[in-house]
């Protein structure tokens, strides 16, 4: 778990995606190659911004063991201002949710490997207050 998580912390800590300079498509999670342009791909990293709109969501009541303390928790699809759609946990109460609401990225704990293991951090979203 540690190596696979660690390799992606750059993209989990911040909303960084990849852009194919050949066709202009933006991807998150990032890709090493553009599936459309294939060998003509020209990949660069892009900042996707930290604001977006909630497209849809699910409320998870039957949580896995490591999420039990958070249930019910929310997973949503967020369309960022850059146009890219990302899947993320929304850190709020289900009663606060409304499709189309503005959300912003925050830095939160994802989980931990028990009391003596590594702690995982990354991006989640919360409703915009302003």
């Amino acid at each position: 778990m540690i190596p696979s998580f660690w390799r992606k912390i750059r993209y989990r800590y911040n909303l960084t995606g990849t852009k194919c300079e050949n066709c202009g498509r933006i991807y998150h999670p990032p890709r090493n190659i553009c599936p459309e342009c294939r060998r003509k791909s020209s990949i660069t990293e892009v900042d996707l911004g930290d604001r977006g709109e909630l497209l849809t969501y699910s409320i998870v009541h039957d949580a896995p063991e490591s999420f039990k303390l958070q249930r019910p928790y929310v997973i949503g699809l967020i369309k960022l201002e850059s146009g890219v759609v990302v899947t993320s946990q929304i850190s709020c109460k289900p009663s606060e949710l409304r499709i189309g609401m503005k959300v912003k990225a925050v830095f939160r704990k994802y989980g931990e490997d028990g009391e003596d293991g590594i702690i995982y951090y990354g991006t989640k979203f919360v409703p915009c207050e302003e």
């Binding site: 925050v106 939160r108 951090y121």
Partner: protein
């Protein structure tokens, strides 16, 4: 002149009232509120800790002046609740802020004054020319044992400061520290909750250190309390800072703006710093501020700060008092779950 280029704060949105805690332990909430001068305190969410709070307040500080991660060359995180005993919080914070990996970093620990210790380190590094900008953060998710009086005050929050010498919103004119071996409050390795010396924490610890550092820094700068627009002292409760201010000769008007403890509790390493940020939110060019922190063990860092013209064009929309007003109350059951006070089977 070295000063503060930008600042940011973070206060978790959950609050628990003194009444709710007192109800569980069979105590009289009015006498607790009267004795401590605290009405409610902030509580971190289940996915918030010192790392996440540090990142959030630092991001706000950097965003306010559109500062890029590559322009920071040092990160200090002061806390007594670092999530790891071994693995610096500052490494995670630096990565999350996209700071170029060639940066100096360290976690600091000195009870409630580790944040101001980070500011002093940054001042020294900027003044010596080692770095252009440094980031000093005071952040905590402090704990009190169930039923301990600390449970009414131990809270969570963070404040971050970009220290540099260009476009500073305030100049740091002087700083000094006063440190002694005073066993007023401690936590042994591996212990989940701190211990404290009860009434011993007052005169020989808080009052002696805060007063001595404040008096000495004013004396060596030929300043009197009336020369300051504002003063802010560490806030372990709502009584101590008011009393020390009065003893030193400051008026309630000078300390009221920074007295955030009544509504968010003692945020430990962030305590005096969040109060200081509340003052910066309203400060005007030319204002002079006295900031004195206190860390058990014990020591105080005092600062004399003067506000520059740059504060007028600085983004101060997200004020501390606005953040204090954004809140959601929880009951003791939820508090016990969020603070991991429930032993899971």
């Amino acid at each position: 002149m070295v000063g503060i280029v930008s600042y940011g704060t973070y206060i978790p949105r959950y609050r628990i009232k003194v009444e709710e805690i007192a109800k569980i332990w069979g105590e009289d909430p009015e006498s607790i509120k009267g004795g401590l001068g605290i009405y409610e305190k902030s509580v971190p969410d289940i996915d918030e800790d010192t790392v996440t709070i540090s990142v959030e307040c630092a991001r706000e500080a950097m965003k306010r002046v559109s500062l890029n991660g590559s322009e920071i060359q040092a990160v200090f995180v002061g806390s007594e609740s670092h999530p790891y005993a071994v693995k610096p919080t500052a490494t995670i914070v630096g990565e999350a802020l996209s700071i170029d990996s060639f940066f100096h970093s360290a976690d600091l620990e000195f009870a409630c004054k580790a944040g101001t210790a980070g500011i002093q380190n940054c001042i020294a590094m900027v003044e010596s020319g080692m770095i252009r900008n440094g980031l000093a953060i005071g952040s905590d998710t402090s704990q009190g044992a169930p039923g301990d009086p600390l449970e009414y005050s131990a809270a969570a929050g963070g404040a971050a400061f970009v220290i540099g010498s260009e476009n500073v919103i305030v100049e740091i004119k002087d700083t000094l520290s006063f440190t002694t071996d005073t066993p007023d409050f401690w936590r042994r390795e591996g212990q989940p909750y701190p211990s404290h010396g009860g009434r011993f924490t007052g005169e020989p610890a808080y009052f002696r250190h805060v007063s001595t550092a404040s008096i000495e820094i004013m004396k060596r700068n030929d300043l009197e309390p009336e020369d300051f627009s504002y003063a802010v002292f560490h806030m372990p409760n709502g009584k101590f800072p008011v009393r020390v201010a009065r003893n030193l000769g400051f008026s309630s008007k000078q300390i009221e703006q920074g007295l955030v403890v009544r509504y968010i509790g003692n945020t430990y390493s962030a305590s005096s710093l969040i109060g200081f940020c509340a003052i910066l939110d309203v400060a005007k060019p030319g204002d002079r501020i006295l900031l004195t922190s206190f860390g058990s063990g014990a020591g105080s860092d005092a600062f004399i700060i003067e506000v520059t013209e740059n504060i007028e064009s600085y983004d101060r929309n997200q004020s501390v008092w606005k953040k204090i007003e954004r809140k959601e109350y929880i009951d003791y059951g939820m508090y016990a779950k969020l603070r991991r006070k429930i032993r899971m089977g």
